[in-house]
């Protein structure tokens, strides 16, 4: 059922549902509605579903104008065009002007697959994270996204949502999971090392934790779905117990989750931290699994870094 849906379908259907009850919600696309699942919304709400064409900068500032007029715009395109391409429009029209615009980027990092290097955003979190006043949220699976949508809509301010478009590996249990924006999820308790993960790397980190268990290592796994503002308490509390960390993300190791965790820990509770992510290089065309291998972002890479991190703690 829910797990049969792609993330874009969950996103679009939930948006549509909320538009039925909240007349201020408006969606804007930039010629990628078909790709992002939002195309059907214009049939139901022709007035509140715009498509500005391949013009992302225009889309961002139009959204700011609509927000200043009392609307709650959700704008979407692929991650690189939702962030780096329109960095100044996000900064000035949206963030500086304090406008309530939700920016949805799809196909983060390696997820762009056949679209290749130009479409693979490994800097988007870094770009947005350095702009004051924008929340950054990266959902893991359908269960988490479904619960997040009303909270996203209810939050009054700019937000960047980094959305994997297709079917992700299932992580959260529909019956028991309770999502809270801004609050990191402790997925698995451990005592030797904390794996902080986001997006597609949450399931990979959980697999790595299994491998570590076979090696006699007890890994704690934390899903930092809200990368900014980061849940400092949960991050600090976890390493107070484990004493070292590995960050795991589908992004450059500079500027993303790794940097966010390091900023918190270096200031409040310095411990060894290792980073799994793209080591500052551009990505290439290809399918997700070989790309994760090539750019050292697999469960085995997490295991290696975890062992190194534990080793550093001992020194």
């Amino acid at each position: 059922m829910l797990l049969d849906l792609e993330m874009r379908q969950v996103y679009a259907s939930e948006l549509l549902r909320m538009m039925e009850i909240d007349e201020s919600i408006i969606v804007i696309d930039a010629d990628l509605a078909r790709a992002n699942g939002t195309l059907g919304i214009r049939d139901r709400f022709p007035d509140r579903a715009l498509d500005v064409g391949v013009a992302e900068a225009n889309m961002a500032s139009i959204a700011a104008g609509l927000a200043s007029y009392g609307f709650k715009p959700f704008i979407s395109t692929f991650c690189p065009f939702a962030t780096r391409r329109i960095c100044d429009q996000i900064t000035i029209s949206i963030a500086y002007a304090k406008q309530n615009v939700k920016i949805v980027g799809t196909e983060p990092g390696v997820a762009a697959e056949f679209n290749g290097g130009t479409h693979m955003s490994i800097e988007d979190v870094g770009v947005v994270r350095s702009i004051p006043g924008i929340v950054i949220f990266e959902p893991v699976d359908q269960v988490q996204l479904l619960q997040a949508m009303p909270q996203i809509a209810a939050y009054d301010g700019p937000m960047y949502i980094r959305l994997f478009r297709k079917k992700p590996t299932h992580v959260f249990d529909e019956a028991t999971y309770r999502f809270e924006l801004f609050k990191a999820d402790l997925l698995q308790e451990g005592t030797d090392v904390t794996l902080f993960a986001t997006g597609i790397h949450v399931s990979i980190a959980l697999e790595a934790a299994e491998l570590l268990k076979e090696k006699g290592v007890s890994a704690e796994v934390v899903n930092v779905h809200t990368i900014k503002p980061i849940d400092k308490d949960t991050v600090i509390r976890s390493v107070q117990k484990t004493g070292c960390a590995v960050t795991c993300e589908n992004h450059n190791i500079y500027g993303g989750l790794g940097s966010a965790v390091a900023e918190v820990l270096s200031e409040h509770h310095p411990v060894p931290i290792k980073y799994v992510g793209v080591d500052d290089s551009f990505l290439i065309v290809g399918k997700i699994p070989p790309l994760l291998e090539k750019f050292h972002m697999t469960k085995n890479d997490i295991v290696d870094k975890a062992l190194e991190s534990i080793e550093m703690k001992r020194k």
Partner: protein
């Protein structure tokens, strides 16, 4: 490699479509519509006008081509392969792991590609930069560029348009692949461009509109553009998205990025081969 007769150019277009479709069909998915609509203009350009040496693809002073709608890379790769700049056997590596032939044109990966593109709207500005550079160096190079009609939604296209005219770049000849389609629908429904020719003229360009699948019309338009002094030239190509294979043409409103089954792969190749090349 110059082709003299229009009949031979038409044959070459079929061959290039054959190679392009084979590469995309082998993979099973690709940007077919926008590759196919562009083929005829690319063939006329690469076999009649562009001055370059396939043996020295980086030769100084050569003419340049910027494929601003970078997702049509597969059509360009077929032409580069036909010129021997890359091997024809390499076409089947399209979009495979570690390939030199990614979806979008990449100057650092593929020999013969003059500029990296894929983020729409930027290539035309790059072409303007190259044209300015050639003017400064006085090397007599011409710069050609192709943009999409959907791509023309980007504000940067019009920034480049103003600057090129302001700089009197008569060494710049640009095509718009006016296939009337973008991803979300027909261009007229998403963001209409009409009157498209008048827009470019009002921006200070020489502009004309021709049948983008008529090699003679394209050839003559390029000849006329080369003779224009003092301003850049826009050639609007009326095209059909997916032109060349009947069952791809039929879905012209939904062939931007298509899956190709093995059966379709065979059928498409057979259709293109039927008329011969």
């Amino acid at each position: 490699m110059t082709i003299d007769t229009y009949a031979a150019l038409e044959k070459k277009c079929r061959e290039v479509r054959y190679l392009t479709f084979d590469a995309i069909g082998t993979l099973g998915v690709g940007h077919l519509g926008g590759s196919f609509s562009a083929v005829d203009a690319l063939v006329v350009l690469y076999y009649r006008h562009l001055r370059f040496d396939p043996k020295q693809p980086k030769m100084e002073g050569r003419d340049r081509f910027v494929l601003s709608k970078g997702h049509a890379g597969p059509a360009l790769y077929a032409i580069l392969a036909d010129h021997g700049i890359i091997d024809k056997s390499e076409l089947s590596t399209l979009n495979r792991h570690e390939t030199r032939l990614p979806s979008h044109a990449d100057m650092n990966r593929t020999p013969g590609i003059d500029m990296t593109t894929g983020s729409l709207g930027q290539g035309l500005s790059c072409a303007v930069g190259i044209a300015v550079g050639s003017k400064i160096k006085k090397d007599g190079a011409r710069v050609y560029c192709m943009i999409g009609d959907g791509e023309s939604n980007e504000g940067q296209i019009w920034e480049a348009a103003m600057y090129a005219a302001h700089m009197h770049l008569d060494n710049l000849i640009v095509f718009t692949d006016y296939n009337k389609m973008q991803v979300d629908g027909q261009t007229k429904d998403i963001l209409g461009l009409e009157p498209i020719c008048d827009k470019w003229i009002s921006f200070g360009w020489n502009a004309e509109r021709v049948d983008g699948h008529d090699v003679k019309a394209i050839d003559e338009a390029i000849d006329r553009a080369k003779a224009i002094k003092g301003k850049p030239c826009m050639i609007i190509l009326d095209t059909l998205k997916g032109k060349g294979i009947s069952f791809i043409e039929e879905i012209w409103q939904n062939n931007h990025n298509v899956n190709v089954t093995p059966v379709q792969h065979e059928a498409g190749l057979a259709e293109l081969a039927k008329e011969g090349f």
